[in-house]
Subunit: 403 residues, 2 copies
C-alpha cells in the first residue's frame, strides 16, 4: 500500500516530535507499506525567517522570500531522513525540485502545474520512505524555487498522492479529525468517520480550519482519499474525506459550521436605476472582495434595500468601493457584530424540511435570522454574533448530531 503522509509544523515542531513522526512511519513500514512523507518547517521557523526578512525590507522581493522560506522544509526533511536511517529504515529526503514539482512563477503563492514522478518512482524502488520538503516547487520558466503559500504542504501531499495514485493521503495535524461542530463550543460534538469532499469544502470555508480548501478541492479533482488525523494521537483513526459515492450512509446533516469573520453591509433606499446592483457587485469583484450572501428586499415605502455579507478582512476596501455608490442610496450601514452559522450535509439533497427544523430551533431561542442562503448541501444563516454559541448548540441538538 502506498501512503502519502503529511506532517505539519506542530507535528514536527521539536526534535522529540520528529522522533514521534519517525515512529508513526515505522509502524507503516513494519506493516509492509511504502511511504511518501511530506513535511512542513518546524513550527516557528517560517515566522523567524519572515522576521529576518522584515529587518531588511518592508516589502522583500518575492522570489528571494521563496529561496529563504523553502529552506525550513528542507531542514525537516533531512532530519526525519536521518532519524529513519538511524532506525535502519531506508529513507531519502527530496526537495520540491527533486520530487519533480513544477509550478507557475507566482512567487510566494505559486500553483502546481505538473508533477514529473520519474525520480520519485525510481527512488521508491530503493527506499521505503521518501521525505519530500513540502510547500515548494520550481518555476517551469525560471527553474527557481517557488513556494505555494498558505497550506502549501497539504497541497504538495495531495498533488503527490494524485500523481502517484497513492491509496490514501493522510494529513496529520494536532486535531484528530473533522467534528460535527467546534468542540470548544459544543462539547458533545462528535468526530465524523467519513465526509464527502463537498461537505468538507462547505465546512472548511465556513470556519472549521483543519484543512485548507485548496487542498480539498485538489483532492476532489484528483480523486484522492484524504484522511484528517492527529500525530499526537495516531492510534485514533481520523476522518476520511472522499467521494460521495464512497459514503454508504448519507446523514441529512453532517456538521454545523460557524464563521465569525463576517460583516453585514446594508444599503437602504437604493435608487431605482436599472443595473445598479450589478454595478455594485462588479465593482466589489474587481477589487477581489468576496461577497457571500446577498438579499434584495422592497420595503414598505416601496424603496429597495440591499443586504450582503463580506469577510471582516475586506471591510476597509469595501468601504472605499462603496463611496462611489453613496449618491445612489439613502444610507449604508456596516454591521460587524454578526456571524454566519451553517448546516452542512449531503443528505439534504433528498430530504425536505431540513431548513424549517433550523428555523424552529433558532426561533425557540429567540434568535432572529437576518439573511438566509441555501445551496444543495448547506443552509447558511446570518445572526447576531452574541447568539453564535447558543445557535451552534441548538442546531447541533436539533439535528441529533451527538447521537
Amino acid at each position: 500500500m502506498l501512503r502519502v503522509l503529511k506532517f505539519g509544523g506542530t507535528s514536527v515542531g521539536t526534535l522529540e516530535r520528529i522522533d514521534n513522526v519517525a515512529q508513526i512511519i515505522k509502524k507503516f513500514i513494519d506493516a509492509g507499506d511504502k511511504i511518501v512523507a511530506v513535511v512542513s518547517a518546524m513550527s516557528g521557523e517560517t515566522n523567524k525567517l519572515l522576521e529576518y526578512a522584515s529587518h531588511f525590507s518592508n516589502d522583500p522581493v518575492k522570489k528571494e522570500l521563496d529561496m529563504l522560506l523553502s529552506s525550513g522544509e528542507r531542514v525537516t526533511s533531512a532530519l526525519l531522513s536521518i532519524a529513519l536511517n538511524d532506525m535502519k529504515i531506508k529513507a531519502t529526503s527530496m526537495s520540491g525540485r527533486e520530487a519533480g514539482i513544477t509550478t507557475d512563477d507566482c512567487y510566494t503563492y505559486a500553483r502546481i502545474e505538473h508533477i514529473d514522478t520519474k525520480n520519485l518512482i525510481n527512488s521508491l524502488d530503493n527506499s521505503n520512505v521518501i521525505i519530500v520538503a513540502g510547500f515548494q516547487g520550481i518555476s517551469k520558466d525560471t527553474s527557481r524555487v517557488t513556494t505555494l503559500g498558505r497550506g502549501g504542504s497539504d497541497l504538495t501531499a495531495v498533488a503527490l498522492a494524485g500523481a502517484l495514485s497513492a491509496d490514501v493521503c493522510e494529513i496529520y495535524t494536532d486535531v484528530d479529525g473533522i467534528y460535527t461542530t467546534d468542540p470548544r463550543i459544543e462539547p458533545k460534538a462528535k468526530k465524523l468517520n467519513k465526509i464527502s469532499y463537498d461537505e468538507m469544502l462547505e465546512l472548511a470555508s465556513l470556519g472549521a480550519k483543519v484543512l485548507q480548501n485548496r487542498s480539498v478541492e485538489m483532492a476532489k479533482k484528483l480523486n484522492v482519499n484524504l484522511i484528517s488525523r492527529s500525530s499526537f494521537t495516531p492510534e485514533i483513526e481520523g476522518t476520511l474525506i472522499t467521494k460521495e459515492e464512497n459514503i454508504m450512509e448519507k446523514p441529512v446533516v453532517s456538521g454545523i459550521a460557524l464563521d465569525r469573520n463576517q460583516v453585514r453591509v446594508g444599503m437602504y433606499g437604493v435608487a431605482d436605476k436599472p443595473g445598479i446592483a450589478s454595478s455594485i457587485f462588479t465593482a466589489l469583484a474587481d477589487d477581489n472582495i468576496n461577497v457571500d450572501m446577498i438579499v434584495q428586499t422592497v420595503g414598505n415605502d416601496g424603496k429597495t434595500n440591499l443586504d450582503f455579507t463580506i469577510p471582516t478582512a475586506d471591510l476597509e476596501s469595501t468601504k472605499k468601493v462603496m463611496e462611489k455608490f453613496q449618491k445612489d442610496t439613502q444610507d449604508i450601514d456596516y454591521n460587524d457584530s454578526v456571524c454566519k452559522v451553517s448546516i452542512v450535509g449531503v443528505g439534504m439533497k433528498s430530504h425536505t424540511g431540513v431548513a424549517s427544523k433550523a428555523f424552529t430551533a433558532l426561533a425557540k431561542d429567540n434568535i432572529n435570522i437576518r439573511i438566509i442562503s441555501t445551496s444543495e448541501i448547506k443552509i447558511s444563516m446570518i445572526i447576531e454574533e452574541k447568539y453564535a454559541e447558543l445557535a451552534v448548540r441548538s442546531l447541533h441538538d436539533a439535528y441529533d448530531l451527538d447521537k
Copy 2:
C-alpha cells in the same frame, strides 16, 4: 571590474552584520563593478543543525547531512539579496546548483569537478550582484546537493573567480590580512601587502589560519588573485595573494609561522633491516597520517635513531600503527611538548645565509633545535614548546620583519 567576494560566518553572523556586508557591496556597485558574492551560513547555524542531527543519530547519513547543512547558506544568500534589492541594487541569490557547481559524490567533503557558468553569466546581464550560497554543489552522478567540507565557501569563491575569470577574489573574515607573524605573540607584526601563493601555502599549513590551504592551492592553479581582508574594517586594503611574478620586491623572509600541534616521535635503536623506514612510513601513510619532518641519525653506539613529527590529532592512530614496529626498535618515545617554528620567504631562493641567521638567533636565546627541515622557500625547526613565543619574537626581530 568583476569581483568575487566571499563573506564568512562571522561576517554574516547577525542581521546587522549582513547590513554591513550590503554596504560593502554597495560601494563597489556605486563604483561600477559587477559582484559575485559567496556567503556562508550565519555563524552558529551550522553547529545548531549538526546538533539537531546528532539528536537522531551518532552517525547521520552523509547525503542527508548535506541536505541539512546546505540550507544555512541558502538563508544567508536570500537575506542578503533582500537587503540589496531594498537598496535598489539588482541582486539575485543562487544555490550551488543554480550557480552551475557540480562535484563528485563524496557527501560532506565533495570536490568541485566543474562549473557551468552559463546561468551565472546570463544573470550578470540582468543583475549587478549574484549572491551564491557557498559550501555546496550538486553531485554530477545523483544531482543531489553536496557540501564541500571545511573552508568550502572559500573554495566556492575561488572556483567561481577562476571560472568567470574575475579580476579579483576577496575573502572577507574578521582579520584584516596576512601578518608577518601572529600579532598576539609579536605585537610588532606587520600586515603584508602582497605574498605569493607558495609562501601563503607554507604559512597556512604552519598555523596562520586565515585561509584554507585547499583554497590557496586552487587559487594558484586557476591563477586567481586572492585578497584576504576584513568585513569589520573594509577600509583597510588587506593582503594580496598572487603569482610570484606579480611581486616586484621579493623579501628574503615574509613571515614566521608557529604550529603547536606537533608531536615528535622518536624511535631509538631501530633494527638494521633493509627497508624498515620505508615500511614504517608506508604504514602511516596508509592510515592517512600526515608525517611531516623526518630525521635519521646514527648514534654513538652505531645504532640507528629515527625522528619524525606528526599532527597532535593523529597521535592515537599513530600509536596503534607503531605497535607493529615495537619489535624492531629498542624504544619509542612520543613528545607532544614540542612545536614547529617556520621561516617563510620566496627571496630565500636567491639568498644564502638565511638559515644560519635563524640558528644564531635561537642559539643566543639558548633554544635547542631538535629537528630541522628546509625547502626552497622555508626553514622549519622543531623546538621545545615552552620557547615557542620567544623563538617567534627572536626570529621576527632577526629578519627585521617589523621594519
